[in-house]
């Protein structure tokens, strides 16, 4: 795992986002074990307390669950998993709309371009 | 206590190699000295008696009998002993400064040991004392070796055998380190310990206050000497030798004790509150 964090957003928030992306992409599967907080800190080169904080938040959001003393696992809850995917899509779309609106481009014009560009980059294998 | 033992052991080992070399030089020089001096004597005797036909009696009248007294005051013996003595005096100071000025500042380690810091002081003092005892013990053994060598090389009729005590007396003032009685032992080494603790305190004053500390150290040293000789001074200057020798000794013991205790207490305070790395 090699993630580049920025210095201005809370690191724990960035860690959670990283996990959500991995879940949405399917790199992390439902029920898959995740590293301990110490391992995670080591892998991401972050403070163990931050890793702990991220896991705590994720547990509260239902993204991960822990049974007894076993390692934590990615949730199997379909609703949550779908939610994650939807959340990321919505975020991307919102960012997109914000950028497009700021330069005042009509939606139709943009949508055609989006379709074209998206297909092209799929073909080139860029996504 | 176990840790103190380890600390002494550690301090002892840090100078041990150099110490061994010094002792080695002393032993070699002393044995060579005995061999050279007594062989010279025998050669002279042979030459006088066989070539110049001098009688045994006449030869001994002119040259004296061969004994340790011929060799004791020679440089063969005195020079190495003086070197060892000066080295130990020097090391009494260096034993502290090496921890600050050495390549890796070891004083950090010593001051961060989970023991009372005064035990670092005590370990260093013990080390100096052990080295001194070691030197004396070796010399006492060497006296026996020397006597035996003389017996082997010099025939009975030319030789005058000395007791260990007589041999020590040929050393003059260096003989002071070889006490004859338990009381002398206590006095000599008690004094030695006081000197060591005063010097250590002076070093710690300098190490705590640096430039200003040099002044404090000189003042402390002067005060220690003054307190120590106070009974003698007062007896001569104020009391017109009113005190009996026994009373004077008791007064001396008291002031010596004061100097020792105040040095240890001051060092304890400096090590805990004022020392700088």
């Amino acid at each position: 795992m090699n993630v580049k964090f920025n210095n201005r957003d809370p690191v724990y928030v960035q860690v959670i986002r990283h996990f959500k992306e991995q879940i949405a992409k399917g790199v992390l599967e439902p029920g898959q074990e995740i590293p301990s907080r110490r391992e995670l800190a080591n892998q991401l080169k972050i403070n163990p307390n931050t890793a702990q904080r991220a896991y705590k938040e994720m547990e509260e959001q239902g993204l991960i669950y822990t049974e007894g003393n076993l390692p934590s696992k990615i949730t199997k809850d379909e609703l949550v998993l779908k939610g994650v995917r939807k959340e990321l899509i919505m975020e991307a779309v919102e960012t997109f709309i914000y950028s497009v609106q700021s330069i005042q481009v009509p939606l139709e014009e943009v949508l055609d371009l989006v379709t074209e560009k998206y297909q092209k980059s799929q073909e080139e294998g860029n996504v | 206590m176990k840790r103190f033992g380890k600390l002494v052991h550690f301090e002892f080992n840090r100078f041990f190699k150099i110490y061994l070399v010094l002792i080695g030089i002393t032993i070699l020089s002393q044995i060579i000295g005995i061999i050279v001096e007594s062989t010279n004597y025998i050669n002279l005797a042979n030459k006088s008696m066989y070539e110049d036909h001098v009688s045994l009696k006449q030869f001994i009248e002119e040259n004296g009998m061969m004994s340790f007294a011929h060799i004791g005051p020679s440089l063969w013996l005195l020079a190495p002993i003086a070197i060892v003595a000066v080295s130990l005096l020097f090391y009494m100071i260096f034993i502290w400064y090496r921890d600050w000025l050495g390549k890796n500042t070891f004083i950090y380690r010593l001051l961060m040991l989970p023991t009372n810091r005064i035990s670092v002081f005590a370990a260093k003092a013990t080390t100096i004392l052990l080295y001194t005892f070691g030197m004396i013990a070796i010399q006492l053994v060497l006296f026996q070796v020397d006597a035996q060598l003389l017996k082997w090389i010099v025939p009975d009729e030319f030789r005058f055998d000395m007791t260990t005590r007589e041999m020590i007396q040929t050393f003059d003032f260096i003989g002071l380190v070889f006490p004859y009685s338990f009381t002398e032992f206590i006095i000599h080494y008690g004094l030695g310990m006081i000197v060591v603790s005063v010097v250590f305190t002076m070093i710690l004053l300098e190490r705590s206050f640096r430039l200003k500390g040099i002044l404090f150290a000189v003042l402390y040293g002067a005060a220690a000497v003054l307190v120590f000789i106070l009974p003698i001074l007062l007896n001569y200057l104020v009391f017109n030798e009113y005190l009996y020798p026994g009373e004077l000794i008791i007064a001396e013991i008291i002031t010596a004790f004061i100097v020792l205790v105040s040095s240890i207490w001051t060092s304890h305070y400096l090590l805990n509150k004022k020392i700088r790395v």
Binding site: F5, N6, N7, R8, D9, P10, V11, Y12, V13, R38, A41, N42, L44, K45, I46, N47, P48, N49, T50, R53 | R3, K6, L7, F10, R14, G102, K103, N104, T105, F106, Y108, R109, L111, M112, L113, P114, T115, N116, R117, S208, N272, K273, K274, I275, R276, V277
Partner: protein
């Protein structure tokens, strides 16, 4: 917790610390940052009673430093403090002889983590390896608090990476760490807390995550604000 309370310190007539106060908690990594020179090391020396202070108080877990404290708190100066003639194993033996808190298992783990040979003489080690041995000797003590003076300076980048790795590993466990540093590139994400010092006073003390969360500022942002104003 280590509490530094209103500490003043002069070198001769020159004041170095002018009323410094801050705290460092167990389980957290606190960085003492100062861009110019003196003060940081003096604070560490003062905590360990290696230099006297003129005023103020320093408490470790609520009590003043005493001989037993050295089993609870240790200081790793910026240069190794073992004799050059010692082998690594002699240095470890020395620690084992004097500290109840010496953890030989952890020492061995650190030896292999840093890829050090215990038969090597300290005088013959490279700069990076000397720094690692220095660190090892402190880290292998089961203490609550570790003070490290500039653990990242003056060594090659790979040694630096390896040392940074220690901070995120179990080798630190849940101990409290105070490090001094003058540049925080590469290590920003390792810190819980930052104390910014200048001219003998604390200009700002903050939690890094809280600062990011509430004000959206990185440590360097805050440093820029504080030191430039």
């Amino acid at each position: 917790m280590i509490e530094v309370k209103d500490v003043y310190k002069k070198f001769g007539r020159k004041p170095v610390l002018k009323g410094v106060s801050f705290t460092a908690e167990k389980g957290k990594i606190t960085a003492l940052i100062g861009i110019n020179g003196v003060g940081k090391t003096t604070i560490m020396n003062a905590i360990m009673a290696l230099t006297p202070i003129n005023k103020g108080e320093i408490l470790i877990n609520g009590e003043k430093l005493h001989k037993g404290s050295f089993e609870k708190i240790t200081f790793i100066p910026d240069a190794i403090t073992m004799l050059p003639s010692m082998k690594i194993k002699d240095a470890m033996q020395f620690m084992d002889d004097f500290y109840d808190s010496w953890n030989q298992e952890r020492a061995n783990e650190l030896l292999s983590f840093f890829r050090l040979k215990e038969s090597d003489k300290i005088a013959d080690l490279s700069k990076g390896n000397t720094a690692k041995v220095n660190l090892l000797l402190g880290l292998a003590l089961d203490v609550d608090f570790l003070l490290m003076d500039e653990p990242f300076s003056g060594i090659d980048i790979f040694s630096r990476e390896q040392i940074a790795e220690v901070f995120t590993s179990h080798l630190i466990e849940d101990r409290g760490v105070i490090i001094t540093t003058h540049e925080i590139n590469d290590i920003e994400h390792l810190l819980d807390k930052v104390v910014l010092l200048d001219n003998g006073v604390v200009l700002k003390e903050f939690n890094t995550e809280e600062m990011r969360e509430k004000e959206g500022k990185s440590v360097i942002d805050v440093m820029r604000e504080v030191y430039r104003s």
